[in-house]
Amino acid sequence: MTLGNVRINVWGTVLLLGIGAGWQALAESYGSPVFPGPIQVAKAIVENRDAIAGSIGITLRRALMAFGAAAVTMVPFGILCGRLRWFGRIVDPFVEFLITVPPPAVIPLVMLFAGVGDEAKIAVIFYACAPLILVNTMEGARNTPPMLEQVARSLRFSRLKAMAQVSLPATMPAIITGIRLAIATSLLVSVTSEMLLATDGIGTFLQRSQESFEFAAGLGAIATISIAGLCINLIIKFAERRILFWYYRDGPT
């Protein structure tokens, strides 16, 4: 169904409202604080708005810092590994192994070295993001169509100019894929690290509310994470369309 320029997903809205109503009805019939309905959860969010806003801010800041560090180091490193074949071959097995060690498993190890503070959490998030960006950038740099490079050469581009105007744009779709995955991962791992190394942030808020049997506040924290993740995904989608408009316009080559 369309209203003016806006497309409305009727079935999706119906399902969401239906689930909400069913949940509320079920909660009402139980009538216990252990089983809050969506209205109680919304109330809990409003009551704890300062704590929740502060916590999610801390969580997002850490996620962003670690992601930024990973992007700044791994994009150039990935291009290097992709362009220098022999170097890439040496790096490959390291990445292969690192990718199989799940980030949460590293948390106890990091805890021994860096304690439970900011540095420890940022290190874990960095560890989770870095391979995603690295692998995708490497693949992209390796698979640059040789035709493009030959065109640059026959136009007598200098090496630097060819890198900036041909190689980088050609690798861009792959880099963006890695970045998209890494941003989503950074939020997930940020929350996880806060729950395991509880000091502050939305993960800790969530755990504290559960421990003190404030289930509505706990669910409120989960809802906040979900909405924050949704917003981030939408922003990335929008930015991707903006940056890679030529890629989507011409279709993948």
Binding site: V10, F94, F97, L188, T192, M195, L196, L230, N233
Partner: protein
Amino acid sequence: MTWAYRIFALAIVISIWEMLFWSGRIPPTYLPSAPMVGAALLGLAKSGAALQAEILTLSRALVGFALTLVLGLWLAILGWVYRPVREALGPLVELLRPIPPAALVPITVFALGSNIKLYLFVVVFVAIWPVYLTASSALSGVSPILIQTGRSFGCSRWETLWQVVLPQATPDILVSVRVSAAISFIAVVVAEMLAGRNGIGYLLFQRAFAVQTADVFGLVLLCGVNGMLFNQLVMLGSRFVAGWHLRMAEEVSR
């Protein structure tokens, strides 16, 4: 050739590791040497603790992963056959997808208790999205010409699905199956860390709090090996299900 590079990489890591250890800058409580970690792993294996944890964690992850696959594919197929189902699930999926497994654990422990149900719920909740999303876009991406060809051979809608659409979508779906397998294992380890009384995740935290560094290193390595094992398992399964496609891709690349 790849193996030569792998062994070379391993040799580099171990020699840097040993150099760090023997330089004496980092106390062995924090950084045990490679043989110490090996000995710790052997000790864990002998005491039976690691083996028991390994079996528990792997079985939880495998059962959860199987359930995830069945549910995810079934949902995607349902969405292909009845378009409104796919439309309706869209916004819900976008809302549920960003929730990390760890966030679900405390409330699930309260609702379901700390048993196999907890692990299955958490695994399915977080690992189903890659399978569902990829499968449903792969199914709807199958060329209409193929579907019409199936139709003109007199296939019903379900027959078209089984004989034409699913085989065509299988290679894409298999990629997401690998992602889901990895997520299943991670989710189980996280749930064990937060709520478990056994399993690799629990053992990891217990040893870390006891500052048994060599054990912790050994268990992290074990997690890596498990990840590879899971990956190989899925690859084997893919060869079984879609060997024809992989062989074709190899022919083309040659």
